[in-house]
């Protein structure tokens, strides 16, 4: 018998005899014999030490980001990780509980969701946000489908900036084909930024939405006020995608410039890189469109004594009530990651978040300055465009080759753009965070000099 199964053989015999049965097999008599098997071909049970050793060996075959000077970003970032985040996440009251459908015994989870929604709302500049979505890519998909609903299906063209994370655009393609939404891509100008006129032209009068990312895939900060005006001129829903959520500590969220939806990935707020998941999709919109929002929402109310209490609300939008007419098929979301982000943001604090974002900016600017000074084959692809904490570096060879050669110098220099396609040069996306010490910067510069 195994410790994770509550009843041993004698317990089982007792229960069987109470049920008037002779064997467990009788309980399964309703399964047709044609689909039955007698066990499965898996190895026998293993003890904790064995598992720790075996999976530990697999883990140590990988190279953890912290073991080298690391400048990887492109949608997944390494920021400070206060110990309190994992301490809170490790509380069984949070991680072993279910979706808070019983509010009387779930006020902890519900209040956390309400605080998360408020934090996202304040950071994006929109008045409502949901309890989370799977990730940034599916948040973009939901935003496009949301726009389609908001405009009552009358417009079926989604215009997306080419500088939205290419993986997000691939995911969007998978979904929109079935949803009957056509996708058009707008390329950036020579400065890596979107031209509002190009948006006007692409959107025409057919677009249900125009989605842009800022800072974009190339790390460049877009001119959101002008873009919002261009999008609204076309009558489309304006969607901002954010993949580096820490930028919101310094840059105003799109809601402040008239964007109707701000969505994306909040992994930067205390969620481990974890080889790509679980991460944290978020979605904020104006309250006038709340009924079209996908995913769960917590709301404030009172209990029977009139005291403040929280509960899940507007579930008439959701699949378990509305079924085929739901705003999304999402059920399980990324609740525990939303808790991580809430703890992280509250520990870092409002002023702390701003300082942290400025630190990212300062480090990235310093690195850009020093790369420019190295010169030779090394160049910034868009040296004149404003960036937050990421930029495209080009050098002697393809991005993939450069990353490989720099890795052999002991530096994880970034993410190559080689295999992503796009109208930009083949190079390396270099991301800098507050975790990159002056030593890290020296290591990268040293490696670039060696390879010059």
């Amino acid at each position: 018998m195994h410790p994770w199964v509550g009843a041993g053989p004698e317990d089982q015999r007792h229960i069987l005899s109470e049920l008037g049965l002779n064997s467990i097999d009788e309980l399964f008599a309703s399964i047709p014999p044609g689909v039955c098997v007698d066990g499965i071909e898996l190895p026998p049970a293993r003890d904790e030490d064995w598992i720790r050793r075996c999976l530990g060996d697999m883990a140590s075959t990988n190279v953890a980001m912290d073991s080298m000077a690391c400048f990887l970003g492109a949608g997944v970032y390494r920021h400070v990780q206060p110990s309190v985040v994992d301490a809170v996440l490790s509380r069984a009251e949070f991680f072993t509980s279910y979706t808070p459908y019983q509010p009387e015994i779930s006020q902890g989870t519900l209040q956390v969701i309400f605080e998360f929604q408020t934090l996202i709302s304040r950071l994006t500049g929109l008045d409502t946000a949901n309890a989370s979505l799977y990730d940034g890519a599916t948040a973009l998909v939901e935003a496009v489908l949301f726009s389609h609903r908001v405009l009552r299906g009358k417009r079926d063209l989604a215009v997306v900036a080419e500088t939205i994370h290419p993986m997000y655009r691939r995911v969007l393609d998978t979904y929109t084909e079935a949803a009957g939404v056509e996708v058009t891509v707008v390329a950036p100008g020579v400065d890596g930024r979107l031209d509002p006129d190009a948006i006007r032209e692409a959107a025409g009068d057919r677009a249900c939405c125009v989605a842009v990312q800022s800072p974009n895939f190339l790390g460049i900060v877009e001119d959101l006020p002008q873009i919002a005006t261009a999008i609204h001129d076309s009558g489309a829903v304006a969607v901002e995608v954010v993949t580096e959520a820490v930028s919101l500590g310094l840059l105003a969220g799109g809601g402040n410039f008239g964007f109707d939806v701000v969505c994306g990935e909040a992994q930067s707020f205390g969620v481990a890189p974890g080889f790509g998941g679980p991460h944290l999709g978020f979605f904020a919109c104006a309250s006038k469109n709340l009924r079209q929002m996908p995913g769960r929402l917590a709301g404030e109310t009172v209990d029977k004594n009139g005291d403040r209490a929280f509960c899940l609300t507007l579930s008439t939008r959701e699949q378990h009530i509305r079924r085929s007419k739901a705003t999304s098929n999402i059920c399980t979301n990324q609740g525990l990651m939303a808790l991580a982000a809430t703890v992280w943001l509250e520990a870092i604090g409002g002023s702390g978040l701003r300082e942290l974002a400025i630190s990212c900016l300062a480090r990235a600017e310093e690195l850009k300055r020093r790369i420019t000074a190295v010169g030779g084959p090394w160049q910034l692809a868009y040296s004149q465009s404003p960036t937050f904490n990421e930029f495209l570096l080009i050098g002697p060879g393809s991005g993939t080759e450069l990353v490989k050669r720099l890795a052999s110098e002991g530096v994880l220099a970034g993410v190559p753009t080689t295999d992503w396609g796009g109208s930009w040069p083949d190079g390396v996306l270099v991301a800098v965070t507050e975790r990159n010490s002056a030593d890290d910067l020296d290591a990268l510069i040293g490696a670039l000099e060696t390879l010059s």
């Binding site: 195994h2 467990i24 075959t61 929604q117 994880l412």
Partner: protein, 494 residues
């Protein structure tokens, strides 16, 4: 539920009301590079004003805040959590430790292949294990949750039909199906159509025969169904659907009922999602994250999402380009750290442990069925596996609803069953105990349910006004929907 010291906790935004500077975390040395004035390098009009309503608090305040909030939650570690269709089992601590290893948690998804071999192997191993457990030849671990798995499966079916040059319009699902099934059908561009259940709660073959035609892309079926009843005609159903060019999608939410006892591959399934957060013990996390890997038949094998993890001669690789694939379902490769936990669980239990997991889950559900029968009405009499669905029709004689019974259970220290689902049982109480707790805990739950049945008869007001002993009293959910307030705003301060 025991009386708690903490019954409410101010919102974070109500803390530090003087809005003074405090420090919750010491940032790394910020002075080792030259300082930058943001407005000199970024367009000033794009910068955020400091937010006076985003307070700074000390570390201890953060810890206390969340500690107190946690005290307001019920959890698996506290007692039985018999939510039907949710499989609330123990979340082994070993798996939590493994998922926190730096070689897994601190791994970037876009590192060079040579640096991520262990992670790719882990994905490959879990795919292999799930293929064995389901008896199906292909798997993808990309989907982030069950509903996401459903969509992945239906999109693969859509693709297979497209390759065949067919456009079908309808996806069928029984009226007992999870809401995600019809929602998924719509999301995938199909029209959802409901099959009315037969008298025993299973699919009526004659009705299916009438509905299943060349416009139907797939039948979505939950096995065992949401009553815990196994579709005894599953093979005939699959034959019928296949013979008319349709596909079988199995909703694997209830896989905990038959691991090591039956194989979906033998049931004619073309695609099936597996909720790792149900059958394979990964924590529910207050609503997520989960993971919803999908296993597929030969027919759908070419259409699996990219990237695919391939075992090559020189190690593991990621295959990104595949024109027959439906494409990518999310960024990167899945909820990886959830996958890690599930593999740790599967390897820990091994073949026999997994089989006994399902056996005890079914045994416990039948013990509950046996003990509560008589006190609670059982609409469908067919033998059930891992869950049992009663309803409130006996208690309605005293005007006690299923909701009242659920709220009264809170006073007894138990999480209630799933309520008002499946929709074909009015006033449903859907009970799934899972296998982890002791028999004594199952018995204590039955005793509580029997005591409540008695209370409903003797003192119905007590039940109707429950809960009496929870951090907050019965919550006004109607008011929440009418007077929508989903964020705190500075106006709340006055």
């Amino acid at each position: 539920m025991k009386r708690r010291a903490v019954r409410s906790e101010p919102l974070f935004f109500e803390r530090n009301s003087r809005r003074v500077r405090r420090q919750g975390y010491l940032l790394p040395n910020l002075d080792d590079v030259p300082q930058v004035e943001p407005s000199e390098v970024l367009p000033p009009e794009l910068l955020r004003e400091p937010d006076p309503h985003f307070p700074d608090v000390s570390e201890m305040e953060v810890v206390q805040h969340f500690h107190r909030l946690s005290q307001l939650n019920y959890a698996v570690d506290e007692g039985l959590y018999p939510l039907g269709s949710c499989t609330m089992k123990y979340n082994p601590r070993l798996n939590e430790q493994i998922a926190r290893l730096p070689g897994l948690a601190s791994l970037h998804p876009l590192q060079p292949l040579s640096q991520i071999q262990g992670a790719l192997r882990l994905i490959w191993e879990l795919e292999e294990a799930l293929k064995t457990i389901t008896g199906m030849p292909g798997a993808t671990l990309q989907p982030a949750a069950g509903a996401h798995g459903e969509l992945t499966g239906i999109l693969m079916i859509r693709k297979a039909l497209e390759v065949r040059g067919e456009q079908r319009e309808i996806v069928l699902a029984p009226d007992s199906a999870h809401g995600t099934n019809p929602a998924t059908a719509t999301f995938a561009g199909y029209r959802a159509q409901e099959i009315p259940s037969a008298d025993d709660g299973t699919v009526d073959l004659e009705v299916l025969d009438r509905m299943m035609n060349e416009t139907v892309a797939a039948l979505m079926l939950t096995v065992p169904n949401t009553l815990g009843v196994f579709e005894h005609q599953i093979l005939e159903i699959a034959d019928l659907v296949h013979s008319r060019g349709g596909f079988i999608y199995l909703d694997g939410a209830n896989l905990n009922a038959f691991v090591g006892r039956a194989l979906p591959g033998l049931m004619g399934a073309d695609a099936m999602h597996i909720n790792l957060h149900k059958t394979f013990s990964t924590p529910h996390g207050g609503g997520g994250p989960g993971a919803g890997p999908v296993t597929v038949s030969e027919a759908l094998l070419p259409h699996l999402p990219v990237p695919k993890v391939i075992r090559g001669d020189g190690g593991f690789e990621l295959q990104w380009d595949d024109p027959a694939s439906i494409g990518q379902m999310r960024a990167f490769y899945g909820n990886f750290l959830i996958l890690v936990r599930a593999l740790s669980y599967i390897w820990s239990l091994g073949a026999d442990g997994l089989r006994s997991m399902s056996e005890v889950a079914v045994l416990y559900a039948n013990l509950i069925r046996h003990r509560l029968r008589g006190a609670y009405h059982l609409k469908f009499n067919a033998p059930s596996l891992h869950e049992v669905v009663f309803d409130d029709s006996f208690q309605m004689r005293y005007e006690v609803h299923n909701v009242d019974i659920a709220k009264r259970l809170l006073d007894y220290g138990f999480h209630p069953p799933t309520m008002s689902f499946p929709l074909i049982v009015h006033g449903a109480l859907m009970i799934e105990p899972a296998e982890s707790v002791s028999p004594e805990e199952i018995e204590a739950f039955c005793d509580a349910m029997l005591a409540i049945a008695k209370e409903a008869e003797m003192d119905p007001g007590l039940v109707r006004s429950a809960p009496h002993d929870t951090p907050v009293g019965r919550v006004d959910e109607v008011r929440a929907a009418r007077n929508l307030k989903v964020t705190w705003t500075p106006e709340d301060e006055t």
